[in-house]
Symmetry: C2
């Protein structure tokens, strides 16, 4: 089966999101860390789910949100990730395929069920995530799809998956396969707790085999143990071809060894839910990059795509981002 040339193949934790809106005290009462992503075991997942109000289930997963965003912009995207052969696994596959993303990973028939991310949204739109990884975290080199990686201009890796030795091996193999095919590799640092756990390995990974890195201000300063954002910018440009560094409402900075651009955030009337904003920023950037836009235009498209999901509940675009970008004249 050939897919022709692809813009981006994403690899990450295949998760279904379970979202509920909760009052502010819920976060503290249930020992959650506001705005973060915490990994939880199945017992804790049961306990927390019981405490949460009525939920909405929507397919999620950081890199999966990004490739769905790229497809929504009109790009050609694929995804590699591990679900179980259960109802949530079928929902995950359906939603990705219905978004126009090539997803042909076979569901697992043994081991834990499809992973899910319990997302508590507080009235300010902040999302606090507790993830039961289930089947998703068992991805290893055998789950890669070398044909898709060779066909994609960019192989995009999600930092969240970097935990088990098999996943690390899969990521190293994926970047090698991409480079062997004359393609490039991108990594998102995903979360400051992930950076804390993997700082040394990630510095080396980025230096050796990542061409584009995505990070927010906390993540990049934590990666290089920098005293300031400016210092982190100096560090990253010595190691990486392109770094896209987001700063929430202050916009983002795109850095290469030779250039640096500051991109304004796209204004949003009211932030309903920040879930997916970083994922869609990456979608906008990578769509632009694989369509030969210059870096400032890639950044502007990234900001528009991020803004498009801040105004509703959920991590994937409701409207076609393609229409959106046309409307905004990017």
């Amino acid at each position: 089966m050939s897919e022709g040339e692809l813009d981006v193949v994403g690899i990450g934790n295949a998760l279904v999101d379970v979202l509920s809106h909760e009052a502010e005290p819920f976060v503290e009462e249930h020992d959650l860390i506001r705005g973060s992503m915490t990994l939880i075991e199945s017992g804790r997942a049961e306990e927390l789910y019981t405490a949460m109000g009525p939920g909405t289930e929507m397919s999620g997963g950081s890199a999966a949100n990004t490739v769905a965003g790229i497809a929504s912009l009109g790009g050609r995207a694929a995804y590699i990730g591990r679900v179980y052969d259960d109802q949530l696994g079928a929902v995950f596959a359906h939603d990705l395929q219905a978004s126009g993303v090539v997803f042909r990973s076979l569901p697992a028939t043994d081991g834990p069920p499809t992973g899910r991310c319990l997302i508590v949204i507080t009235p300010d739109g902040e999302r606090t995530m507790s993830t039961y990884l289930g089947a998703s975290s068992l991805l290893g080199p055998g789950n890669l799809d070398p044909e898709l990686i060779a066909a994609a201009k960019v192989t995009y890796l999600e930092g969240y998956l970097w935990d088990r030795p098999e996943a690390k091996e899969a990521y190293r193999l994926a970047t090698r396969l991409a480079h062997d095919a004359g393609r490039i590799a991108a990594l998102t640092l995903s979360d400051s707790f992930c950076v804390q756990r993997h700082r040394t390995e990630w510095r080396r990974l980025i230096h050796d085999s990542v061409d584009i890195v995505f990070a927010n201000e906390d993540e990049i300063t934590m990666l290089y143990e920098s005293a300031s954002f400016e210092q982190a910018v100096e560090e990253v440009k010595a190691h990486c071809h392109i770094a896209c560094l987001t700063r929430g409402a202050e916009g983002s900075v795109i850095v290469t060894p030779q250039e640096q651009y500051t991109i304004a955030a796209q204004p949003v009337d009211k932030v309903i839910d920040t879930t997916g904003a970083g994922d869609l920023y990456a979608a906008g950037f990578l769509y632009g990059y694989t369509h030969n836009l210059d870096l400032p235009d890639c950044g502007r498209l990234a900001s528009s795509a991020a803004a498009a999901v801040l105004g509703h509940t959920g991590a994937r675009p409701e409207l076609s981002l393609e229409q959106l970008s046309l409307r905004r004249g990017v």
Copy 2:
């Protein structure tokens, strides 16, 4: 296990809704009947789901939406319905319990999976439903919970479930149990195709053992084969203690043998999705009725509750209806 006195126990098809927004031509291209509910088999459900865009899963089921609405108003509600022991069954149970509804039906461990309702929402907010009943339709007398029925002021039955002989037997037993306990029984006609299929049986059921009937204009005129809405009103009041007849944007009419009230619809800024509006109308009415409001106030609360779900995607309230009714001074 005693639950104390309950306001309402609902009995119906326990379903998880799968909602997607589609452009207008989708309805015709897939041989759907705009605005209706059609029963489908599992093969057709697969086919239609594949054609639908990325979905959102939310617990649904008409009577379940109604009891969730009653709980949201501060009422005490329970639900009897049949799910399978699978992920969607667990989602259904969680959401109902998280809404404050007593739900203690044990999940089935053999037979078909938990039922689901594929809901296509077109840009005008109209919803077209295709239901794969799965485990839900196999409800029989053995699934009733006589303790809950005896404890509830009103036993509320959903017409959708009236298809299999076991379900009919269960409904007849439920109304008898309610009346034996000095309680009352309510029925919603659910859908004009249901009325067409069951007209003769339902006329008898309503005459013999239903105290409150809920229907929209199409359903009530079809039930009595009336030439006009006014004629249907005359018919129904000869057979039923109270009839609540909804007419969309024209509001509703509440009829008893002695009285008749016209209730205005609550204005809605923009109709996003009509899913659940009828269910929530019943919730508002039954909450008012079990809290001794007079009929016009029951009707006004019904209109407010219906309006509260027209403005968002999904069939259950996003805000507490209790707060809503306080705010509107009903």
